[in-house]
Every structure is written in structure tokens, then in C-alpha cells.
Amino acid sequence: MDGTAVASPGDRGTGAAVRGRSRRPPWQAFLWIAPALAAIGVVYGYSVYRLLIEATHRDGKSVGLGNLRIAIDDPFFRQALGNNLRLLLTLPIIIGIALVVAVLLFEGMRGWRFHRVAVFIPYMLPVTVVGVLFGELLTLHGALNTTLQTLHLNFLVQDWLGNPDWALRSLAGVIIWRELGFGVILFLARLLSLPQNVFDAARVDGAGWFRTHWHVTLPLMRSIIGFYLVIEAITLMSWVFSYVFVMTGGGPGQATQVTETYIYQNAFASDIPWLAAAAATLLLIGVTAVAALFLVVRWGYSRRRAA
């Protein structure tokens, strides 16, 4: 996905270091590529091939799309998928906060260097560490609630991970807490690369802080926001296993079950590998569709710009 950020349209023209020598792929090129291709071939190629076999067979017999249908009909799978979608709702929050913090840092608030490092620290922690840590902090008599009580904010006290209505939100909160730093750094880098006179002009106009950024900064950041949006969307759809596995194991009830834990549990706890394979196939189709949609939209966007 890095294509959007680093290798944007520009690098197409520069081409290879040495180009135009031969239209035929020289056998040498294959030798150079072979080791990497072998690794990719086994881990991705063979796996996807084998996955499709497992997803369409049961006890060695082909069942066509039967397994997929069972997975789609399975209320637990639907619940898990629904939770992934609900997690997507946090996207505007992450992006909004990251933008505000990035702009504040950019404006050189007092001690901004320190703040920049501080805001980035959560992103340096391994997800497992974050999960275990918040698992302890968010218990009913844990550090968060104890602190809230000391501050006489008792109405905010919650059984953060034990209450099914709150568990997914708490999980989302922890994800935001960790992922925020990345967005801030990304946005800050973009802000620093913008021509400064844009802001000066707006300030001379006498526009307020909010209006300046809404009308001037935000449009200039569109592409980087889009990039971050896609990354976080993919994260929330298919990279939250560690958070859920460590913090709630999918509970209470099925309140925080996600597709990844559903696949893992069916494969290794419930011991129904074909159901796990079927769900994995559906997830694969889903992320491929999202990525393809993104590419199509981007392609259309760049063509419109070129036109």
C-alpha cells in the first residue's frame, strides 16, 4: 500500500536503472528474483491454493461452496464480521484527533518536541504489551476506575471490558490510543512539507484558527489522509487479532469476537478447520475487494487530475 505515499505517479518515468536493452526477460533476472519468489510462492501462493482446497472440502470430499454458505449463515461469523465493521466507525475519530494533535505540534506549541515524542510512544509498544497492560488497567477495580473515583468522577466508572455494551468500545479506545501516534507523525511530516506562505496568507486574511485549518490545511492533506484511512481500515478489518486475543478473548459472550479470532478459534480451539478455512476465504475475498476498490478509486482520481 506504500505506493500511495512514496512511489506516487512520479516514479513511473524514471524507470529501471538500465532500461530498454531487451524486451525478453533475461534468465538472469529470474535468478535474482527466484529466492524471494520462492518465499512468496510458499507463504502466499501455496497457502491461498491450499486454503481454497480446505475451504471447499470436508473429510477429503468436495462440498463445493457448502462450507462457505455455512460460514456466511453462522451467527457467530456474522457477529464477528459486524464487530469488525463497528471498529471501522472509529476511523473518523482517529483521523480527527490525529489531525488536531499534528496541527498543534506543527504550530510549535510550547515544548512541542517533547510532546511529539510522548504522543508517539504508545505506537512503539508491542500490541501484546498494550493489550495486557490495558487488560489490567480496565478491570472494574483497576487503575482507570480507581483514578476516576479519586477525581470524584464516579459517573464515568464502567466495567470497561466486562460489560458487553462497552467491551468493543473499550477495545476500540485502546486501538485508538496506540495507533494515534502513527497518524500524528504522518500528518506532521506532510504539514512540514507544505509551503509555509499558504498559512501566512490565511493568517493575514484574519481567518480564525479553526477556519484556517478547515479551509486551507485540510484540503492540502487530502491524499495523506486517504492513505492513512486505508491503512487503518485494513488494520481494523484484519489486523486486530492481538488486541482481542489478549484483552477479551472475544468475550463477554461474543461481544468482541472479530473475524480473526473466529478463524483462530475454529481452527485451533473448536477444531473445525474447514469452517476456519471457509471464514478465511471470505475474509480474503473481503480485503481483496476493499483493496481493489481503493485502487480503482485512486486510478480514477489520478486520471481525472491528469485530464
Binding site: R24, P25, W27, F30, L37, A38, G41, V42, G45, Y46, Y49, R50, D59, I70, D74, P75, F76, L138, T139, L140, H141, G142, D159, W160, L161, G162, N163, P164, D165, T248, G249, G251, P252, G253, Q254, Y264, A267, F268, A269, S270, D271, I272, P273, L275
Partner: protein, 452 residues
Amino acid sequence: MTRLLTTTGRRFAAAALIMLAASACGSSSGGGSSGGGSSAAPSGPVTLTMWYWGNQEAHGLSSFLATSVSKYEALHPNIKINTVLQSTDNLMPNFAAAAKAKKGPDIEYRWGGIWALQDAWDGNLAPISDYIPAAERAHYLNSSEDTWDGKLWSAPWYVQPSFPILYRKDVLARAGIAAAPTTWSQLLSDCSTLRAKGITPIAGGVKDGWFGGWLFSILGSESLTSVDELKQAVVGTKKFTDPDLAEWWTRLGQMISAKCWNDDIGSLDLYQAQQTWVDGKSAMTVTAGTDVRKFVTQVGASKVGVMTMPKYASGVGAGKLGSTSQTLAISSWSPYKQQSADFIMFMHTPAELALFYKDTGALPADNRFDPALIDVPQVKQLYDYSQNGSPYLENFIPTDLDSKANFGGVQLMFAGKATAAQAAATMESDMARIRTIEPDLIDNFKKWTGQQ
């Protein structure tokens, strides 16, 4: 190769992938067929791997095993035994993974009943009765729940009286309660009395789920006339919403309404919660029978009483503890099945049985164990209970049903997000789901329980 390279890039990539996949397939089937070696008795050095669990509920099990293994290795210099303690959360996934890999332990720990047999049905266990003589097996306790198709599949190791309530006489006395509750209405009223004094009546933790299965077994057995009702509900000739099968949810709801449980039950793990009882924060808690000596020692023998769940009905489990044994099985892929069985039998010799109790405080699942060795009155009480126990329900339902309906349902009930009726209905629909998804499991279950 060169011809391939002259095709277009796309086809080139696709072809390369397919070739890789094909070669991987070839090598994989080769590896698979060479895997199933024979098990001729070797006279050379033998290394047995044993995966176990239980130090969590029978503190000291690890040190017992260390001693017992070193004794055994001294007696049999050609045998080496590696023991690996598994964590609670990774136990079932690790076994499932090992079974798929046909690699891992020779000797593996199993909870009783269906927890062992599901693996036997999947072909992961060797019939242990082929390696342990009948005369020896006759001494093992509760082996009937691990028997299927005329064979024993996992050998009882130690008894798990399931599950006693421990109460603190000193804490009850603080609330002016002279005797521990024995009937349901006493229990509920004692809950109110304790609450009024600011004392948590019973400590539990459901975050990791397991306690849901305990509550199902403890409360659910009181209203069943026999465990057959439960088996019928599994195969579909009865329903989990039928009064006998659903009443326990209602009773759990009554306990919740009477504020019998700690407020943070949803955010604590099972063992975490028990510790709060030791710290004197609650009057009662439910523990593993195997853990009782540890808790009694921690709190002081004079302060602790042990009892069964107060009765609300007079069914098969009312006023009793579930009788089940934690077991040791032999992997179907182990090349050293007889050697594994020999070590298991070694742990049933009198000296080892005595050592087992001494180190763990848990009762070995063997009628040759001398009860005179029991040094704590509360454990003696458990021993007496276990002489006249009832079937332990959790061992008679598919494990997937347990972890979905019981673990999840109990969590939701405690969070106030499901009523008793809803929880029962969910259990029934979860069971219907399993019957659709895993018909083989149900077929084996029928064979096992004779519910054809």
C-alpha cells in the same frame, strides 16, 4: 524453464506459483506418508514428552512430577521424560494443533469425559486400555466417563471433586451468620445479610469463561433427574429450554438479583477471584476440589468450612459434588505407547500415590490411595463426598457448546445483558448450530452415550 520465461510476465508469475505449489504438494504428501512410523519396543534410549496442566488447580503438581520423573528415570536409565506445563488459555489450542501436526506429546493431559473422548473420536488418542492391564485399570477412579467403544481412552490421574464451596466461618460470623447455608432460601437471605454488612457473599470470576462451565455443572445437576436428560438435549430429543435443563439459569439469575456475587466478577479471571476470598474480602468462593488444601492452609484450617452448593431441588447432583478425574492419555502418533503407559502406571504405585497427595493436596484417582494419609479435615470431607459423587455435567456436552453457551451466557447474565430465558434459548440454538455443523461429533456422541 527458459520456455516459461519467454511467456508474458503475468503467466510467468502464475506458472511459477503453480510450480511452487505443486512441488510443495509433492513434498508434503511425501512427508505425510513417512510420518506414521511403527512402534516396536526400542531397547535404546527413549525420550517421552509429557504435556500437562493442573499446577493451576493442584498447586505442587509440577514439583510432584519433577520428583516422580527423576525417580522413574533412575529406575529406567534408558528413558528420559520431558514434562511441559501448559497454560490454561493455550491448553486446548495447543492440543488441537499438536493433533493436526501429529507431533508433540507422547503423554497428554485431558480433563475427563468428552474433553478426552472428542480427541479419541478424532483419532488423536491411542486406546490406553490396550497398554494398561484390566486388573490395574480396575483401581482407577471414574474411568467410566472416559470409556467409549469398549475401550478406555484416557487414564484417570487425580480426582477433581467438582466443585465445593469454601466459606469462612470468621467472615460469616462478622455478619451474624452462625451456620453456612444449606438450602436455597437460606443462601439468598444470607447474601442479603452479608451485603448489608458490606461483605461480598461469594467471589467468582468469569472473564476467562471457565467459571461458566462450573456454574452450569454445579447448578444444572440439581434439577436433572439423571444425566440422560442432558445427553438427550445434546442429540436433540430434549431441549435446553425444557424446565429441568433451563432451571439453573433461573437460579443463577436469583443469585445475581440477591447480589450474591462480587461486583467485578466480569473483569476477573477465575483464579484471580478466588484469591480475593483468601484476602478475606468475601465470605464464600467456589474452588477446584484439588485446590482446597492450599486455600485451607492459606487461611487457617479452623476458619474454613467446605460444603456443596445449597439445594434448590432434589435432582441427581443436589447436595453432592461432581465426581470426575483428570486424566492422562497417550497420543495416537506416539512411537512409545507402552513406555508411556508404564510411566502412567508407575505414578499409580503406592509410594507415588502418597507423594502425589503430599505434594499437591489433591486426591489421586486410585482406590489404592490410603485415605489415612489425608492430613486436613476439609480434604477428608471432600474424600467422603467423592465416594458418593454425581456425574459432572460439563463432561457430557460438546466442548464447543460449553465455551459458547455456558461461558458466554454466564458472562452476559452477570453483565445484566441476558435473562435466564434468553440464556437458555441461546444454549438451545447454539446446540442446534453444532448439530448442523458437526454431525460426526453428534454421531460419536450418540454411540458413546447410547442415545441412538
